[in-house]
């Protein structure tokens, strides 16, 4: 494990000397943060807002095509479905971002 640690460092020292790469990595990181922020807003809205803060108010409505009170559905079903979808969306967008900035790991292992 020590080897892999120093190995990672060497990679970084090369990239630090290379100004263009450093700037590209900084831009990659900004885009990454923006993506995380957007996804975490959705995460917060479905669970903390729809499932908790506004749950009682949403219970006045029924989920279409079912008999679920809406707030209760978000808290015990809907939020979980959205969480799963969020992660798969993140994986797709992040892998695309890696390729766009040429920091992906290639096809081989």
């Amino acid at each position: 494990m020590i080897e892999s640690f120093s190995n990672g460092q060497e990679g970084v020292q090369n990239s630090v000397t290379d100004q263009a790469t450093a700037a590209r990595h900084a831009e990659y990181w900004r885009r990454n943060i923006r993506l995380l922020g957007a996804l975490l807003i959705v995460w917060f809205v479905v669970s903390y807002l729809c499932g908790i803060v506004f749950a009682e108010a949403l219970n006045a409505f029924t989920l279409p095509l079912s008999n679920f009170p809406l707030g209760f559905w978000f808290a015990q079903q809907g939020a979980i479905y959205v969480f799963v979808i969020l992660i798969f969306v993140y994986v797709k967008l992040m892998n695309d971002l890696d390729r766009e900035f040429d920091v992906d790991e290639g096809e081989g292992a």
Binding site: M1, E3, S4, F5, N7, G8, Q9, G11, V12, Q13, S15, V16, H25, Y28, W29, N32, L36, L39, L40, W43, S47, Y48, G51, I52, V53, A55, E56, N59, L63, S66, N67, F68, P69, G71, F72, W73, A75, Q76, Q77, A79, I80, Y81, F83, V84, L86, I87, F88, Y90, V91, M94, N95, D98, V103, D104, E105, G106, G108, A109
Partner: protein, 567 residues
């Protein structure tokens, strides 16, 4: 065949499978032992993570808890799944890129400090031990009830099995056994749920059945249950009794705690690449959500069934399962008004409640309450054991690697060879099995409570240190150490005060801002974040090589090389 024969057969068959896998996947290096050689496929890792994560609490207790808590049970559903979004987005890919063996490994290197490493080791061992004792207890209860052996013998058998595959196979053995255990436990959870859903709502999919129509009354199921609750003086099932703020804080503590639990985090070290780490969190949550979206349906089915089968029934004509569970002391009836009938009513009813039901038995008793075939009951027993054993094994590995890798190799005895370290890891795992078994047989009275608090402790210690370690280069050694110490001390003090020092004061009137001890981890985490950031700004910035390390973990490329270079 009788229930007991079926149970014995199914449990024995599943145990034989786990042992077979252990023999096939022996560990031959420390890399095998700690991270399964780093070559686990994302799909298999997702399944293993799901089994690792879903413990006796998820399988046996959660649906029962929700059944009695109604809407308030949502904290567990959202809390124990939402944490995976944080893991996928904020932790797993970066920790995989760093390529360590353990969580304290990362903390120690990122904060260039042996002290930080030791603090992390202590937190990891403490969190894992509280958790593992509860698992062994779960094993004992399943054995005791279904195979009618003594609880201690049950714990002993469980210890033997875990010892075999954890000590022999390390992470490699554990990973592939967990894949098998996931299949056993999800099958065992879904089969009765599907039966129940068909019986009550006529829909085979429990998630739809929950929002469906109760066939007996022709009313929407949830409306019917709310009606029953109102009649009997319980609050409405689909609305909560906890304050919104408390629900908010408990959910957050469970989510963040999930993302900070070391036995979950280390699972993402076992895949070959950063992108595999990302997708395997997705698979893990998909597999987990199968059980977590079924559990609230099981809760409602069980609740409706329970009320229908016991309320106002003469005690002399109760079903067989009732008497059986009465023997274990988990159901008790006290005929307060002497009319020979069971009055099961809530706090708002003018009548006196005469029935006490332990919520832990809802999942285990469900198939019997619903009169399902004998093999389904045996299957539930095997599933409960799979859930408890898979989580216990994952936790034991964290404890063993914390001792052999973080404490010995990286701190006290850096000169030991790979072979000696592997031996130390096996010995540590063996000792940990015995300590866990001891606590399973002689549970300190507070184990059940403490398990829930393990999340608060993980939330207030590891999570901020790891997140800031990745997302803020300016975070210093001093900041992280003081942050971890203040977060975990504050949280532990609040929990200990309200549960052990002054349990009489444990009510919403005395809680700070109305936050219960279950939710206080969120405040502890905020405290940790604040302390870490303020102290970091006041201390000298981290050395250049640490800042370079942070730059390198932010970019995926290069993780594959680390994997190949390692052994």
């Amino acid at each position: 065949m009788s229930v007991q024969t079926w149970t014995f057969l199914l449990v024995a068959a599943s145990f034989a499978l786990y042992i077979g896998i252990a023999v096939w996947s022996r560990a031959s290096s420390t890399k095998d032992f700690y991270v399964a050689g780093g070559g686990v496929s994302p799909l298999a890792n997702g399944m293993a993570t799901a089994a690792d994560w879903m413990s006796a609490a998820s399988f046996i207790s959660m649906a029962g808890l929700i059944s009695f808590m109604g809407y308030d049970g949502s904290v567990y559903l959202m809390g124990w799944t939402g944490g995976y979004v944080l893991l996928a987005l904020l932790l797993a890919p970066y920790l995989r890129k760093y390529g360590a063996f353990t969580v304290p490994d990362f903390v120690g290197d990122r904060y260039y400090s042996q002290l930080a490493r030791i603090v992390a080791v202590v937190c990891a061992i403490f969190v894992s031990f509280t958790y593992v004792a509860g698992q062994m207890r779960g094993v004992g209860i399943v054995f005791g009830r279904f195979l009618e052996v003594d609880v201690n013998v049950g714990v002993g058998i469980g210890m033997g099995i875990v010892f075999f595959y954890a000590v022999l196979g390390g992470m490699k053995g554990i990973t592939y056994t967990q894949v098998a255990q996931y299949c056993v436990l999800i099958f065992a959870f879904m089969v009765p749920a599907i039966f129940l859903s068909l019986m009550i709502t006529g829909t085979p999919i429990p998630q739809f059945g929950l929002g469906g129509v109760d066939q007996a009354s022709g009313m929407p199921l949830l409306e019917r249950l709310n009606g029953l609750h109102q009649e009997l003086g319980f609050g409405p099932y689909t609305s909560g009794t906890k304050s919104t703020l408390d629900v908010f804080f408990i959910t957050a503590a469970l989510m963040v705690g999930t993302a900070g639990l070391p036995h979950v985090i280390i699972r993402f070290y076992t895949v070959p690449r950063v992108r595999d780490a990302r997708i395997s969190v997705g698979w893990a949550l998909l597999f987990i959500s199968l059980l977590y979206t079924t559990a609230p349906a099981v809760a409602v089915f069980a609740r409706t069934n329970l009320i229908n089968s016991v309320q106002d029934v003469p005690y002399s004509s109760v079903p067989e399962w009732f008497t059986k569970w009465e023997d274990t002391g988990l159901i008790s009836f006290d005929d307060a008004n002497g009319d020979g009938r069971i009055q099961y009513v809530g706090p708002e009813s003018p009548l006196t409640n005469e029935l006490t039901v332990d919520r832990d038995i809802m999942v285990l008793a469900n198939p019997e309450i619903a009169n399902l075939p004998a093999w389904v009951i045996g299957l539930v027993a095997a599933g409960g054991l799979a859930a408890a054993l898979s989580t216990a094994a994952g936790l034991l590995l964290v404890i063993s690697s914390a001792v052999s890798h973080d404490l010995l190799k990286r701190s006290l005895m850096p000169e030991i060879t790979e072979k000696q370290e592997l031996m130390a890891a096996r010995i540590a795992a063996g000792v940990a099995v015995f300590v866990a078994g001891y606590f399973g047989m002689n549970p300190p009275g507070f184990v059940a409570q403490v398990v829930a608090f393990a999340f608060g402790l993980a939330a207030s210690s590891f999570f901020p240190a790891i997140i800031l370690g990745i997302f803020s280069k300016r975070t210093t050694r001093e900041g992280a150490i003081l942050g971890m110490v203040s977060g975990i001390t504050f949280t532990a003090a609040y929990i200990v005060y309200f549960n052990f020092v002054n349990p009489g004061a444990n009510s919403a009137d005395n809680w700070w801002f109305g936050i219960s001890p279950e939710g206080i981890g969120t405040l502890g985490m905020l405290l940790n974040f604040t302390v870490t950031m303020v102290v970091s700004r006041m201390t000298h910035e981290p050395p250049a090589e640490v800042q370079a390390l942070v730059d390198s973990i932010r970019v995926p490329r290069g993780a594959g090389e680390a994997h190949e270079f390692s052994m």
